[in-house]
Every structure is written in structure tokens, then in C-alpha cells.
């Protein structure tokens, strides 16, 4: 709807100049301000030269919306409700009717994709901020239309993407973990339906697939491995059905009703109703449950099937077996027929829920540390400023096993440089940090030890022995002796990490072997500590509260993170070759010019800057 009109800018006027005389695009409605969505929109007709005039894809009507800041901001192309396309194609959002108040449907085109099929004759990047950006988009829309007509929007070799969910029910979000190897496991299994245990994460509506069984309390068919985040959590039961193929209606849409779903499953050779009828008794308890449909998919279009993906549907509450429903026998089949005719009729809309693959290769694809370090079983002694920074950097980087050791509780003064929050004050630091880390890294298994090193009780000592890489972040000289005398049961890697005054420097001492070389550490660090004394002769320590004189060393969180981030790269790289001689790496902040700050790393033997 047009409302209060903003003035039309010069850029908007120029933007549509290319319509004048254009053979394939015709301007139908000039810029109109759509107050509801705060966009300028214009309506045009597309008549691509590559499409024959008798095709329904020739002469289609579209809207394009831009932000007032054009040529900056978002540009979107939508099918018109009148005379626009009403099916969903690849590289298009689900094309439902969308907002009642707007004249366009919801099926926004995806035109900024770098895929080959859209690369016809246009330069590589979208010309953001350039005045002919609108023209760029609309000419790509023409290419899209021609590709849709020829059926080549999905080209062999393009990454496989499932169609957009038509309507999303907000009740739940599902995470599953499927990979090429779990696909192999599924391949060995003949069962095509059963129940799934869904573990609730956090207070919201997030559920992770814990294990798939054939019947409730029956043998586990497939169970992905998860980190500590799924332990001791509430579970609910869902049902699963494996299909032969993704239930996709041409051109590229998911069914919106149960009737469509049944029809496409039947044409794919799947008898959905029969399978649902068999598993439905497990969820007839008067509660709403989730149905997962497992579909094999390739990694690329026309590639071989490589893994299973799960689609999720929020089911209505099914009739209970204890109820007698008039006209229907009180058995599985009778109950199912009743459901089929009441809450799962052909016209009932499907309530799709969001699902996502949380397998590490997908979940962590944005920034995982190298396997060499993520496979290490890491222990961090000291969960203070430096320890918490390193622990979080490593956990988010994809470490699988971590043990945290700290005997102290979190105090308010710690907040200024720590990853924990006010909610953790008064809790043991190792326990609070473990709880935080398992929630940021769902595949991390983390053991907190609320004790000083070395721990007293045997299971905890065992846990420590099972670690490969021991990081000391205590800056406590006595601890070094404890490390030296602890009876390690094999060769370990040790890293002693500590910060200098104002966190100008970070020292990282690496050693390997069955014994921690305490004397060697002392001799290597001594010259550096002398230098600190020279550089900062009158170290002034801020105080933390009244009472006993309790100095705290000054350093900002930003400095600590800066150095911690630099040392993570070192730990994940060259620190991992088992050194024959121990070495000391020194990271120091250097201000070169006003705009350039760098971290210089030095091999500690040369004692340079």
C-alpha cells in the first residue's frame, strides 16, 4: 500500500531509465512507496527473448523492491500476484501468496548467486553502490527466467540445496548429525521407520536427534555422537520414516498439504501412510509429536547420493488408543484411518519445522582449527582470564575433548576479563566454564574438575591422565613443581602460558615428554622476567576492594584476547611437533604507527623485542 511518500531520489529516477527502449523489460508501474515494508517498488513485465511467446513463462509480471538508500541496500525481485508465476523454482524462496497487503508473492528470486548458470555475459560481482544495479538485477532475472524455462536452474555439479520450507511452524527446531559415514550405516539397515529420541537443549524449542530406534526401548539403529551438551537433558519421542527420495514437487517445491505429500511419495515409490500407520501407536499419548522424514541426497546436483537429510513435520495430536472412536475399530489400523480422516486429511496443511545438519563438518565449516589440534585431548589448568580465553577459542575451534581444572569460584572482579557472566558468580570456575563451553560447542565433551591440580580423587586423576596436551594458565610457580612431580603415564605435551605486565607479552613455553622440565623453564623465563622489571620499575597494581592488600595485575580483556588468539595459532601449528628440546615463544604487542599494531613472535632464546 502506498502511504506517506518519501521524495523520489535522483538515483531512483536514473535507475529505471534503462527500461526506455528495452526489448525484454517493460515498466508497468513507476516507483511507488510501500509503507508496510518501507521499500520503493516498481512493477514490470519480463518477456525474455529466449522464451517462445506461447510459453506461460513469457510475459510474466514482477515487482522489484529497493531500499530508499538505493543504489545501496537490498534489491529483491518478486512474482506479482496477478499474472506472475505461482510455482516455486530452484533458486527461489517458497512461492506462497505471502503478505495479504502486498501485490507480490513470497517467492523472491535468488539472483546474487555466483552459480554458473547466472553468469551469462555479466561481470562477476554485483555492482553494489553503482547506479545501474537495478538493471543488473533485472537482467539477471531475465537469465533466471530463461534458465527456468529450459529447466537448467539446477546445473549438474552445483551444490545441492533442498527447496525452501513453505511455511515454518515455530514450535521446534531440529538438529541432526548425518555424514557420509552415517549414510553408510543407514545403508546397512533395512528398517524404514521407527522412533527417535529427541533431546531438548536449553530452555527453547531446540531438539537434537539423540538416537534412532526401531521401536521404543528397542535396539538402537543409528546414534550420532554429541558432546556434553546432550547429557542430563529432557527428551521427547518422535517418529521417523525413511523415504526413497526427497518429496519434491516440480519445479522445486515441498508439498504444502498432506495430500500433496502422499501423492509425491507414492510417485516416488514410498507408501507413507503404511509406514506412519505402523509407528503411530508409539506416539498416541495425547501429546503433539514430531515426524522426521529421512531422504538420501547428493552433495552436488546429479551427483551420487552421499548422505541422509531429515525433513521435520510437527504432527497434530493423534487420537489415543484408549479412546474408542465411533465407527473405527480400536486397533492400529482403525486409529490411523480415524486420523487420516480428521487431522491428517489430504487438504490439511503440513506444518514444516526447521531442521539443520549439525554434523561437525557442516556446523563448524565457517572456522575450524586443524584436525591435528582438534583431535588432542586438552587439559587447561587455571580458568582465569587467560585460561577462559584460550578455552573458549579452542572450544569454538572444534576441540572434541577438554578437561578444565580450577579450585576457585568466580568473583565479581573477574568479569572485566573473563568469558563467564554474572550468572556464574559464586560457582566454581571450572564447572561454570564447562557449562558454558558445552553450550557453545555441541560436539565438545568437557570434564570440569573443581579442585586444584593435582586432583585428589582417583576418577579425576584418571581423567587428567587421559589428556594429551596440558595447558597451564595459572602463572603459579608452585604448579610447575606439581607438574614436574606428577606421575604421568606416558609422553605428554606441556604448554606453560603466562602474561607480562599490562599483557604486553605472552610467554608460551612448550615441552614434551614423560616429565615436565621445571628447571629448564625457570632458566629460560628468567631473562624475560628481568626485562619486565627493567621496563616497568614501579609496577603499580590496582586494588580490588577493601580489606587485605590484594593486588591484581593490570591488563585489559582486549589485550588478553589479542595475545590468546595469536597463541592459539601457534598451539594449533608448530607447537604440535614433539620437540626434542623445549622452547619458549614470546608474543608481544608492538605499536609501529598510529594505525598499525602487530604481534611480534620471538624464539625466546634470542631475547629480542
Amino acid at each position: 500500500m502506498s502511504g506517506e511518500t518519501l521524495p523520489i531520489t535522483h538515483e531512483l529516477r536514473y535507475a529505471r531509465r534503462f527500461f526506455d527502449g528495452h526489448q525484454e523489460l517493460k515498466l508497468i508501474e513507476d516507483w511507488t512507496w510501500y509503507l508496510d515494508v518501507k521499500r520503493w517498488g516498481l512493477c514490470f513485465r519480463a518477456s525474455p527473448a529466449g522464451i517462445p511467446p506461447d510459453s506461460p513463462l513469457y510475459n510474466t509480471i514482477w515487482y522489484v523492491t529497493v531500499e530508499p538508500l538505493y543504489p545501496w541496500g537490498e534489491i529483491s525481485v518478486w512474482p506479482s500476484k496477478i499474472d506472475g508465476i505461482n510455482m516455486t523454482y530452484p533458486h527461489q524462496n517458497a512461492n506462497g501468496t505471502g503478505d495479504e497487503a502486498l501485490p507480490w508473492r513470497a517467492g523472491k528470486l535468488c539472483l546474487v548467486s555466483p552459480l554458473r548458470v547466472l553468469g551469462r555475459g555479466t561481470p562477476s560481482g554485483e555492482p553494489l553502490g553503482d547506479s545501474d544495479r537495478l538493471q543488473w538485477h533485472l537482467e539477471r532475472a531475465l537469465v533466471w527466467l530463461e534458465a527456468a524455462y529450459k529447466g537448467v536452474l539446477l546445473a549438474p555439479g552445483d551444490p545441492y540445496e533442498a527447496p525452501d520450507l513453505p511455511v515454518i511452524a515455530p514450535e521446534a527446531r531440529i538438529g541432526f548429525a548425518e555424514t557420509a559415514s552415517s549414510f553408510g550405516q543407514w545403508g546397512q539397515i533395512t528398517t524404514t521407520r521407527g522412533t527417535v529420541e529427541l533431546t531438548q537443549i536449553g530452555a527453547g524449542n531446540l531438539l537434537l536427534c539423540k538416537q534412532f530406534t526401531q521401536r521404543r526401548l528397542g535396539p538402537v539403529v543409528v546414534a550420532p555422537t554429541w558432546g556434553s551438551v546432550t547429557e542430563n537433558q529432557r527428551s521427547t519421542t518422535g517418529i521417523w520414516v525413511r523415504l526413497k527420495r526427497m518429496p519434491i514437487l516440480p519445479p522445486w517445491q515441498l508439498p504444502i498439504s498432506w495430500g500433496e505429500l502422499r501423492a509425491v511419495c507414492t510417485s516416488n515409490g514410498d507408501d507413507l501412510d503404511a509406514k506412519l500407520c505402523e509407528v503411530a501407536p508409539r506416539i498416541r499419548d495425547g501429546q503433539p509429536h514430531i515426524l522426521l522424514l529421512g531422504c538420501p541426497i547428493p552433495e552436488v546436483i546429479d551427483g551420487p547420493l552421499r548422505r541422509l537429510t531429515w525433513l521435520g513435520i510437527q504432527l497434530p495430536i493423534l487420537g489415543r488408543t484408549t479412546q474408542t472412536i465411533a465407527g473405527f475399530r480400536p486397533n492400529a489400523r482403525g486409529n490411523w484411518l480415524y486420523d487420516r480422516r480428521s487431522s491428517l486429511t489430504d487438504t490439511t496443511p503440513i506444518r514444516w519445522i526447521r531442521t539443520a545438519n549439525w554434523a561437525p563438518e557442516y556446523l563448524e565449516s565457517r572456522g575450524r582449527l586443524p584436525d591435528a589440534i582438534t583431535e588432542q585431548r586438552i587439559a587447561i589448568i587455571g580458568c582465569g582470564a587467560l585460561g577462559s580465553a584460550l578455552a573458549e577459542l579452542l572450544a569454538r575451534g572444534g576441540i572434541r575433548h577438554m578437561t578444565l581444572i580450577d579450585g576457585q569460584q568466580l568473583e565479581p572482579g573477574n568479569l572485566i576479563r573473563h568469558t563467564l557472566s554474572v550468572h556464574d558468580i559464586g560457582t566454581n570456575k571450572a564447572k561454570a566454564l564447562a557449562r558454558r563451553l558445552m553450550s557453545v560447542a555441541p560436539h565438545l565433551t568437557v570434564h570440569p574438575i573443581a579442585d586444584v591440580f593435582p586432583p585428589e580423587n582417583p576418577p579425576e586423576r584418571q581423567t587428567v591422565q587421559a589428556c594429551d596436551f596440558i595447558l597451564d594458565c595459572t602463572a603459579d610457580d608452585s604448579l610447575l613443581e606439581q607438574l614436574a612431580v606428577f606421575p604421568w603415564d606416558g609422553a605428554k605435551r606441556f604448554a606453560i602460558l603466562s602474561l607480562g605486565y599490562h599483557a604486553k607479552r605472552l610467554w608460551c613455553y612448550i615441552a614434551g615428554g614423560e616429565r615436565f622440565p621445571h628447571e629448564d623453564f625457570d632458566s629460560r623465563i628468567a631473562p624475560w622476567l628481568e626485562r619486565e622489571q627493567e621496563e616497568f620499575p614501579t609496577m603499580r597494581f590496582p586494588r580490588e576492594g577493601i580489606g587485605c592488600w590484594h593486588p591484581v595485575f593490570p591488563a585489559q580483556w582486549s589485550d588478553i584476547l589479542f595475545l590468546a588468539a595469536a597463541v592459539v595459532k601457534y598451539l594449533a601449528g608448530s607447537a604440535l611437533d614433539m620437540p626434542s628440546t623445549p622452547r619458549l615463544a614470546v608474543f608481544s604487542q608492538q605499536v609501529l604507527t598510529e594505525q598499525l599494531l602487530q604481534i611480534a613472535t620471538t624464539d625466546g632464546t634470542h631475547g629480542a623485542a
Binding site: T9, H10, E11, R13, Y14, R16, R17, F19, D20, G21, L27, D30, P123, G125, E126, P127, L128, G129, D130, S131, D132
Partner: protein, 376 residues
């Protein structure tokens, strides 16, 4: 090329701007309200209404002075048999002195009122024919907007204007009724001519209705063609006098073909029509006679001398081929440059246009910006 978006921008540039419109609305409503409330005059006033290019939607923005102008007709009950045209004008002097002292001037056929923000032309009429009195008070006559503010204006008893529609829940039914009513034709009104000492006929409502019908036959493009050609004349030949104003508009109206689909086509074919229709007159040194709509015995071009018409004809003859080249050009840039030759800098020619917001913009010849390399 027809360049529809360029012409759309050109027309919004040369039309009355929002400030002009609000100024002239303020001017005429104040004048009309004052007239109707004047104790001396309201006894002799039948009705007031708007005429002129604003009402006919053919007004272009004022060029140098920034004041828009609007024409107001005040219909009186003065008997043309007993009251002379001069006396009729005199009757308004006390009112004018009271509200517009030092700002008005008596002209041959009207009173010009010059305020800081608007110029108004006040035309007084004598008593209308008795059958017309009621109709002259209809909303369709007294409306304050141009005829094309709605797509259904007609001189019908039930017709109501925009603000009235907004207030009534039964607006749809009323307008439907108005469409089915037959249109009132009315009779010409008499206006004073001081120089001749007589009352002369005029029929502004017929002119407005004719414009509406012509515009409708031209798919809404006629009034835009008039504006464009008025602008052409004003910018290319600023010192030319006649024809201008309504006579120029009338000439265009007589020569613009029906069923044009764009302003570009209308402008070109109108110029060509003038060249071909009046070649004989030009050669013979004569001025054509164009009967006024509503008062056919009046010649709209009566003020033109043969020299005026000859000059005008020469200007049109020079312009017509340029318009034809612009229309037939197949390249957008060439076409735009040619249109610009006719219409001046108000016609957008974006190669050298500057953005009014921040900096300039130029059509992209190479990627000016590397995108997709910064992350967070």
C-alpha cells in the same frame, strides 16, 4: 524513442511543484472565502469557480518569478442590460481596497491581483441565464482541483470532489449516480471588456469539458503534450509573444491527433500536423480562424498578427523534424540528446547529469568497487 521514464521525469520537472500548488490553493481559497463573506458583495454573488490552465491541468511551472498563477471567476447577478462593464468592475473596488490594497490592477477584462506568493486573475461575470444559476453552484463547477484529479469529473448534479468523498460512506453510490446523469452543457457567461465598453461571451466550463474529452481520447497524454509544447515555446523562444497561454493550448488541441500512446508521439505528430495543416496560411501570410469551444463565433487567434503567426509557423517547422528524429532514433542517448535540443535542460539526459544528493554518478564502465572482500 519514446523514452517514457525520461518524459515522466521531464513532466514532473516542468509541472507545478508542490509549493506552487499549495500557494495557489491558499490564494484562491482565501479570495473566494472573502468574496463570499463580504457583506456588500455576497448579495450579488451567485458562485465562484476556477478556470485557466490550472483547472485544465495544462499549467507549467513559472520560470523566473516563482509565483504560480490561478484564475478565479465570480458569477454575479448584475444585469448586463443596466450595468455597464466598467460599473461592474467598480462594484468590486471597495472589496479589493479592503483586502488587496495596492496589490491589484484593473485590466481590460479582469482584475489582476499580485501577492507575494501568488498571482490571481479575477474575472467578473454578469447575471447568467436563469436555468444555469443552480448548476453554477454544483461541486463539479466549484471544485478546487484540476479536472483530472479524479478520473470521473463531469458537470453532473451528484458529482462530489475528493475531500467530500473522504467524508461520506456512500461516496461510491453517489459517484455511480453521477456517472449515469447526463452532463449539463450550460450557456456562455458574459464578462466585461472595458476597452470595448461591452460584455463579451466566454464559456470556460465548456473549455474544461472539451479538454477532459480530448485527454480521454488521447489516453491521458493530451495535457502532457500541451505542457511539453508550452515549455518548448517558453524555453526556446522566450521573447515570442503570441500565441501563448490559452490560444497556444487551443492550437495544440486542434492539431494533436487522438489515440496517441505517449507524449513523445503526441509532441511529434502535433508539430507535424501544424506544419501540414497551416502551410497554406503561412504562405499566404494569413492567420487561421479557430472557433472557441462553447462560443464558436469567437476566434481564439484573434490577437495574432500575421507576422506573429508566420514566426510561430517557422518555429514549428524547425522543431517538427527534430522531434521526428528524436522519436525515430533507435539509440537512447541520441534520442535523449535530440529531445533535449527541443526542451532544454529540464529534459533528463543522464550522461552529464549530476546527482542532487551526494557527489555525482556516472554510468559504470568498469567495476568501481571491489565487493565481497570484507568480513565480520
Amino acid at each position: 524513442m519514446e523514452l517514457p521514464t525520461a518524459f515522466a521525469d521531464f513532466l514532473s520537472e516542468i509541472g507545478l511543484q508542490d509549493n506552487h500548488i499549495s500557494d495557489l490553493q491558499r490564494g484562491h481559497s482565501t479570495l473566494r472565502t472573502r468574496l463570499e463573506n463580504d457583506i456588500e458583495l455576497n448579495a450579488i454573488i451567485v458562485s465562484t469557480f476556477l478556470q485557466g490552465s490550472y483547472r485544465r491541468s495544462t499549467a507549467i511551472r513559472p520560470k523566473n518569478s516563482s509565483r504560480a498563477d490561478v484564475d478565479v471567476v465570480v458569477v454575479t447577478t448584475l444585469d448586463p442590460e443596466t450595468v455597464s462593464s466598467a460599473e461592474a468592475m467598480e462594484r468590486f473596488v471597495p472589496f479589493l481596497d479592503k483586502h488587496y490594497e495596492g496589490k491589484y490592477i484593473q485590466q481590460g477584462r479582469s482584475i489582476g491581483i499580485e501577492l507575494t506568493y501568488v498571482e490571481m486573475d479575477l474575472v467578473i461575470t454578469a447575471r447568467p441565464s436563469a436555468d444555469d444559476v443552480k448548476q453554477l453552484r454544483w461541486p463539479s463547477v466549484t471544485a478546487s482541483e484540476p479536472f483530472d484529479a479524479t478520473n470521473d469529473w463531469r458537470l453532473a448534479p451528484s458529482w462530489i470532489g475528493l475531500s467530500e468523498r473522504a467524508r461520506r460512506v456512500d461516496a461510491v453510490q453517489i459517484l455511480r449516480k453521477a456517472q449515469s446523469e447526463s452532463e449539463w452543457q450550460g450557456h456562455p457567461l458574459l464578462i466585461p471588456d472595458i476597452d470595448l465598453g461591452t460584455w463579451e461571451q466566454t464559456h470556460p466550463l465548456a473549455q474544461i469539458a472539451w479538454t477532459r474529452d480530448k485527454n480521454s481520447r488521447c489516453h491521458g497524454q493530451y495535457v502532457r503534450v500541451v505542457k511539453a509544447l508550452k515549455w518548448w515555446r517558453k524555453t526556446q523562444y522566450p521573447s515570442s509573444k503570441y500565441p501563448k497561454g490559452y490560444p497556444l493550448e487551443h492550437l495544440i488541441g486542434q492539431n494533436c491527433p487522438d489515440s496517441i500512446s505517449s507524449v513523445a508521439e503526441g509532441v511529434t505528430r502535433t508539430l507535424e500536423a501544424i506544419v501540414s495543416n497551416y502551410s497554406g496560411y503561412a504562405q499566404a501570410g494569413l492567420v487561421p480562424i479557430l472557433p472557441d469551444h462553447g462560443v464558436p463565433k469567437h476566434n481564439v487567434l484573434h490577437r495574432l498578427s500575421s507576422a506573429d503567426f508566420a514566426d510561430f509557423y517557422a518555429q514549428v517547422s524547425a522543431a517538427a523534424p527534430v522531434a521526428r528524429q528524436a522519436l525515430d532514433a533507435e539509440d537512447r542517448d541520441t534520442s535523449a540528446q535530440l529531445w533535449r535540443a527541443l526542451f532544454g535542460s529540464a529534459f533528463p539526459y543522464d550522461e552529464d547529469a549530476k546527482s542532487s544528493v551526494s557527489g555525482g554518478f556516472t554510468p559504470r564502465t568498469q567495476p568501481t568497487r571491489i565487493t565481497g572482500s570484507r568480513f565480520a
